[in-house]
């Protein structure tokens, strides 16, 4: 019982983290494109 609630708790924490960091890859995409654009100048 407690093991399954622990598992559930970990899943919730992971979901929280994923939703919190969801737009960070967009910043990475931005920086890659910026790097390419600046490199081409």
């Amino acid at each position: 019982m407690s093991e399954s609630s622990n598992q559930q708790n970990n899943d919730m924490k992971r979901r929280e983290l994923l939703k919190g960091l969801a737009t960070v890859p967009v910043l990475g995409l931005f920086l890659v494109n910026l790097w390419q654009k600046v490199g081409n100048c």
């Binding site: 939703k19 919190g20 960091l21 737009t23 960070v24 931005f30 910026l34 600046v38």
Partner: protein, 164 residues
């Protein structure tokens, strides 16, 4: 912190639409800011000199004073960059939407596309009263009224750590 209506939280299409709008405007602001920072020759002088309507006098005062022009350039570059990063990452996004809206309204008021006002700088499109600045300001108002950073964004991690 103001929360979203539960109906929007439950409706994925509305929620993701708002998040997408926030990220796209953040991207736009961030690039506008960084492109000015990395260009050593950029200055707001040309834009200000072409200003018309109620702020044209203020614009000419700023351009004629090197200190004021330096402050104007610095504030523009870094505010656009920080507001952009904030909106993109969803960190303090409600406040940055408000600050960003203020900036875009200022850009609009310094060079409004009103009848009878002619600009020497060629515009990117054809406008009468409504231009893209005004539309972006309204979009930021929507993002201020419907904040999403605490749902998808770093604000979510902040609010969780505050509540723990």
């Amino acid at each position: 912190m103001r929360q979203l209506d539960s109906s929007i939280m439950a409706n994925r299409c509305q929620l993701y639409g708002l998040v997408t709008l926030r990220v796209l405007i953040g991207w736009h602001f961030l690039y506008e800011g960084i492109s000015k920072i990395i260009n050593p020759y950029w200055s707001s002088a040309a834009y200000l000199l072409d200003s018309k309507w109620i702020f044209s006098g203020l614009a000419k005062t700023i351009v004629s004073n090197p200190n004021l022009l330096g402050i104007s350039d610095f504030v523009n570059m870094w505010a656009l960059t920080l507001v952009g990063a904030s909106l993109l990452l969803g960190l303090f996004s409600r406040y940055s939407a408000l600050v960003g809206m203020g900036f875009v309204i200022l850009y609009f008021l310094f060079a409004p596309p009103f009848l009878g006002l002619e600009y020497s700088r060629p515009g990117e499109g054809s406008y009468i009263i409504v231009n893209k600045n005004l539309i972006e300001a309204c979009a930021l108002w929507v993002l201020y009224a419907f904040p999403t950073g605490h749902v998808i964004g770093l604000d979510r991690l902040l609010t969780k750590s505050e509540s723990n």
